[in-house]
């Protein structure tokens, strides 16, 4: 039975390396976190299972096999930057900009929080990443999955896996990372500040905003055209009320299908050689700093604004500037309630929260046009 031995030689057991095992364990870890700890399951479960699938040792004899092509094929949508913008389109179709429209002042907090992106970029440069890699790592501080994936697929595809995992992990760790920083940087009095109820927003405003918003963002940062374009296109589909069925499909069937393909293919294409590197450690460390710095700068900028305005802002709200919609807004609400059980900051926090999405898309645009190719 030469053929039998041949076959046995071609099983996965032959040529299995410790890297494969470690990667598979990582996959199991992310699945565990997704299911038992509720870490962004919609992304981390597919990525985790993808890691397991992609790191099964395939014997030489088959490495060129067409069947291995499947994951290469569905990964094209990531490589060529097709899935993330379309997912962003669906996100736009579920995002409600009303809180932002009713609190224009709070929009600036969403800008301040992007400070985390650029300080992290410098940190990444410092520890020896290339400018392109540093940009991709910095964007983790944007706390925006599609933006991070889109940018790193453009600037540093080799880091995509680690960056995607870091971004989504920290987005779900927001309730752990943010509160201590928020408490550290604010006084009890500040946490007690009540903000006036926000004004009504007319349907017309909601429809005009996506158009004007898009024009401003892309004229200032042409690199953000695709992401911002898709985000606001999805949003106008939703707000116009005349394309309800398109908005519905965009935020349900379409975004789900793309999320499955995105997560699964990213996982399956994240191999030990790219993931089990000192760089990955650097990425995770940098990512944590990015989130911390973003939170801090949001809070501090809110306090800074209070120096000049009579209507005080509750500085906690600044922490919501690191999008991670809607987790960080919920964290703000929670911490606010600790200080005063009757002071609900949620709707106020949603303003910087969605502004942060736009902010990091602009930042990604800047990085893309400066560092792109």
């Amino acid at each position: 039975m030469g053929m039998l031995t041949d076959f046995l030689m071609s099983t996965g057991f032959v040529g299995i390396a410790w890297q494969n095992v470690v990667m598979i364990l990582f996959g199991c870890l992310f699945i565990y976190l997704a299911i038992n700890k509720g870490f962004e399951p919609l992304l981390l479960l597919p990525i985790g299972f993808g890691l397991i699938v992609g790191n099964i040792p395939i014997p030489e004899s088959m490495s060129g096999g067409e069947e291995g092509m499947f994951f290469v094929n569905i990964y094209q949508g990531v490589k060529q930057g097709i899935y993330p913008p379309l997912i962003f389109l669906g996100v736009g179709a579920m995002t409600d900009f009303t809180p932002m429209l009713s609190n224009p002042k709070l929009v600036l907090l969403g800008a301040a929080a992007q400070f985390g992106i650029f300080t992290t970029l410098i940190g990444a440069l410092f520890i020896g990443f290339t400018p392109q890699q540093a940009g991709a790592i910095g964007i983790i501080g944007g706390a925006d999955g599609p933006t991070a994936i889109f940018l790193s697929s453009m600037l540093a595809p080799e880091l995509l896996g680690s960056i995607a995992i870091a971004a989504y992990s920290y987005m779900s760790l927001v309730p752990v990372i943010q509160p201590p920083i928020m408490r550290l940087l604010t006084s009890k009095e500040e946490r007690l500040i009540r903000m006036e109820v926000s004004r009504q927003v007319s349907k017309k405003e909601k429809i005009i905003f996506p158009i004007i918003g898009f024009l401003i963002c892309t004229l200032i940062a042409p690199g953000s055209m695709v992401l911002i374009g898709c985000l606001f296109f999805g949003n106008i589909l939703k707000e116009s009320m005349v394309t309800e069925r398109l908005a519905n499909t965009a935020r349900n069937a379409m975004i789900d299908i793309l999320t499955i393909l995105l997560g699964f293919s990213i996982g399956a294409n994240t191999l030990a050689v790219n993931f089990l590197t000192p760089q990955s450690i650097g990425i995770f460390v940098m990512g944590a700093t990015a989130f911390a710095l973003a939170t801090a700068s949001g809070v501090l900028f809110a306090k800074f604004l209070n120096l000049f305005s009579k209507k005080k802002i509750n500085p906690l709200v600044g922490a919501a500037g690191v999008s991670a919609v809607p987790n960080s807004a919920r964290v703000v609400n929670k911490v606010g309630l600790e200080a005063d059980p009757t002071n609900y900051l949620l709707m106020h926090a949603m303003a910087p929260n969605v502004a942060g999405v736009v902010g990091s898309a602009i930042a990604a645009g800047v990085l893309l046009s400066v560092l792109g190719h």
Partner: protein, 117 residues
Amino acid sequence: MNFGWHNVVAGHGIGLMITGMLIVFCGLLLISGIIVVLGSLNGKSAKPKAAAAAATAADREPTREELIAVAGLVVHLESERSLGEWTQLTIPRQNRVGSIWASAGKMRSLSEGGSHA
């Protein structure tokens, strides 16, 4: 990887940071400015009563009539569905805008087909 500040200098780190934050702030500053303008334009046309109505609608319990209405709607859609397109053009879409039933209804109405064809 070789640590060191020279990497930052080589990568124009500082320049990038300043440029970037500048752009981001310009962008969102302009946006919040525009929002203020938009708001003042449509300021008059703010409708608090709608909000009130909404709130109440959300709070109070569904009345007996509503229960009938809802179940009736289901029955209607069921029958319509089984009858096929002869009843398509009888669907009162207008007054169900934005409801999950509406979309279900629209799917089957030729008017949607038209919008595509």
